[in-house]
């Protein structure tokens, strides 16, 4: 089954998040490593700009979605680089991300 792995960084008051480092350094390296696996399908890196209510802040400051053929493929792609990628997190944030595995039911 096609899956997406979502990594969501909560928009916490006083938290540190270096969007430039995340977008220009961390995610390009992450994508370079993970997209080399044959189970890789796609990736999206996004910046939260607003919540659903007028004038509200977004719940998440940044979001990343990785599409893979299966959970097993993602694990196989990620684990050899877990130490490097998780170790790099302190270089752009002190936020603990919400991580979620999803089954893709509709994609158009």
């Amino acid at each position: 089954m096609a899956v997406r792995i979502s990594i969501l960084y909560p928009n916490r008051a006083g938290a540190r998040f270096d969007l430039r480092y995340y977008v220009e350094t961390h995610m390009p390296r992450s994508i370079e490593l993970l997209s080399a696996h044959p189970g890789f399908r796609n990736v999206s890196v996004e910046r939260g700009v607003a919540g659903g209510e007028p004038g509200s802040q977004s719940a998440y400051v940044a979001i990343c979605h990785y599409g893979f053929e299966s959970v097993e493929d993602f694990i196989a792609a990620f684990m050899p680089h877990a130490a490097e990628l998780q170790g790099d997190m302190r270089n752009y944030t002190d936020i603990t991300p919400v991580i979620q595995f999803n089954e893709v039911l509709i994609a158009k």
Copy 2:
């Protein structure tokens, strides 16, 4: 700028969420209406299967992402159908979703 609108349904204990109605009735109707707008780019409907920690539940029971050319395009596509689509929510859930507008920074 390309945007994604994320609608996330928190995985609340005791909450009601009829995944079948959501995937087979609500979202197909929503996609039929919104994809008719020229600013529509893509859509993904997903079911949360697990959290990042081994054995943990997903933070969200279901997630929908709409890709549009701009926030304005999404608003223009959605508003004429807001009453119908929001009114249909009670048919599948009592969860108030988290809604977030995102700017897409990397897409591959």
